[in-house]
């Protein structure tokens, strides 16, 4: 059986989970992996549940949606509730502690990180929480090198916020 890793990044619209998934996908593609990224969000641009999915495979990727994931990133409580049942028993759960009221009882490996809080302290706003999360995800999973991730971030985010985004990405790695 070909090796396949499936990731769900969930949060609310405006938290940048779609962009985060695209950057992760782009970096994986740069490293030559077969990768597919999809997204879904509610009709409202902000506030409703948003999710980004990334599938990585040694083989050609068939079905484009994630059924059971190996890695779940929950950027808020609602996403955690909505997607936890899709996480495999031997999966990895990454939680933004700031936005999650309680950590569920689960057998999976859990990383609780105060992402939004750290971001607010550093930048005075939560805008770069998605990059900080990507930093933590990169360090925890080692799916892709930090250098390639930085390259992908450089290509995608606007020039005027590039430094802040890169700093947030770096800080995310330090939090682990």
């Amino acid at each position: 059986m070909a090796k396949k890793i499936e990731i769900i990044i969930g949060g609310s619209g405006g938290q940048g989970v779609v962009l985060a998934g695209q950057i992760l996908g782009r970096a994986l593609a740069y490293e030559g992996k077969n990768v597919l990224q999809t997204q879904s969000y509610g009709a409202e641009a902000r506030g409703s549940l948003a999710r980004s999915e990334v599938i990585i495979s040694d083989d050609k990727i068939g079905f484009p949606a994630v059924r059971k994931c190996d890695i779940l990133v929950a950027m808020n409580h609602e996403a955690l509730n909505a997607y936890l049942n899709q996480l495999k028993d031997d999966g990895i759960l990454i939680i933004d502690e700031t936005n999650v009221r309680e950590t569920p009882k689960t057998k999976v490996k859990v990383y609780k990180i105060p992402i939004t809080e750290t971001c607010r302290k550093m930048f005075g706003e939560a805008t770069y929480a998605n990059m900080m999360m990507l930093g933590a995800l990169t360090k925890i999973t080692k799916l892709v090198s930090s250098k390639t991730m930085e390259k992908a971030i450089r290509e995608v985010v606007p020039t005027k916020t590039l430094n802040a985004n890169l700093k947030a990405f770096e800080k995310g790695q330090e939090l682990i």
Binding site: Q22, G25, R26, A29, Y30, N34, V35, L36, Q37, T38, Q39, S40, A43, K60, I61, G62, F63, P64, A65, R67
Partner: protein, 383 residues
Amino acid sequence: MNQKRVILEGSHFMNGDIACAEGAIAAGCRFFAGYPITPATEIAEHLAQRMLEVGGIYVQMEDEIASMAAVIGASYAGLKAMTATSGPGFSLMQENIGLAVMTEAPCVIVDVMRGGPSTGQPTLPGQQDVMQAKWGSHGDYEIIALAPSSVQEMFNLTIEAFNLSETYRVPAIVLADEVVGHMWEKVAIPPAQKIKIVNRKKANAPSEAYAPFMPDDDLVPPMACFGEGYSFHATGLTHDEHGYPQTSSSEVQQKLVKRLCDKIRKNADKIVRVEEVLLSDADIVVVAYGIVARAALSAVRKARAEGIKAGLLRPITLWPFPENHVAKIAQQTKAIVVPEMNCGQLVREVERAAKETPVTFLSKLGEEPHTPMEIFEAIRRNS
């Protein structure tokens, strides 16, 4: 002018809509007229910038009726021209698609299918425009429609659509779906010299002897474009080889309409493209296209792993329909399964070609495409 690269040779991470737009640029398309609509908006958005970079023209029109009209005009002015839309816009374009058929204007229409009827479900995938692509405009005609199932194919088949459209002087439709349009995957763009480009046959008769609708042996007339020194008439009315209306002659009507159909029908073997997976010993064959074909492939692999001899026939051209391929497979196999994101469209063509072989239809509406498990269960039930 800002001179940017025309062909973005290299490896990229793109969504299907952007890959389609880049395929158009690579094919030589230099005119886009459209009205943005989910889930095809990113095609327009991307081309709004890229057309200017490569010296082309981008026009956001007032609606889809005008978009299609502008595309025909640009084609007759000598440019490769395209529009992109989804269901509601595709409906509005139908009248002028008929005009493009009748005036034999090469052009490409991209329809990124969402859930219908009417405005339906803008952000969800569908395969509900398959019959509309074939029969949407009035009168008898044949058309070409290609169904991509990956982001790479959004690039490749958009080029192919231009090539076929230029070869046969017929509108070619890229019939994609929301998932293929919006998902992101790796895309390899080859160097320019490795991309096959076909351009329409140009008129070479002297102006006074030129008959704009006089076909060659392949039933396709060479094309003079406006501004090339030829004066001629092109009309939606039934016309003779000189382009002049003959609205009460049965002979002219028969000759013209039959030729418009025959130039596709008689060349169908050259136009039809399919992907065949594990068919040689298959007892049960899944016929699936677009994004559904990917779940079907996963299902076929799973069935094989469990000892069921399953195979996949993926029509890449939906129109002309690959009926010879289906007919041949139907003679060798015991059963056929057709999953579609509609209430049963291409399955009717499959049934027609399969004759006695039993065909099971698997419908899915209003959410994600069929899962591999759903198709696998259908394979198991019918094997």
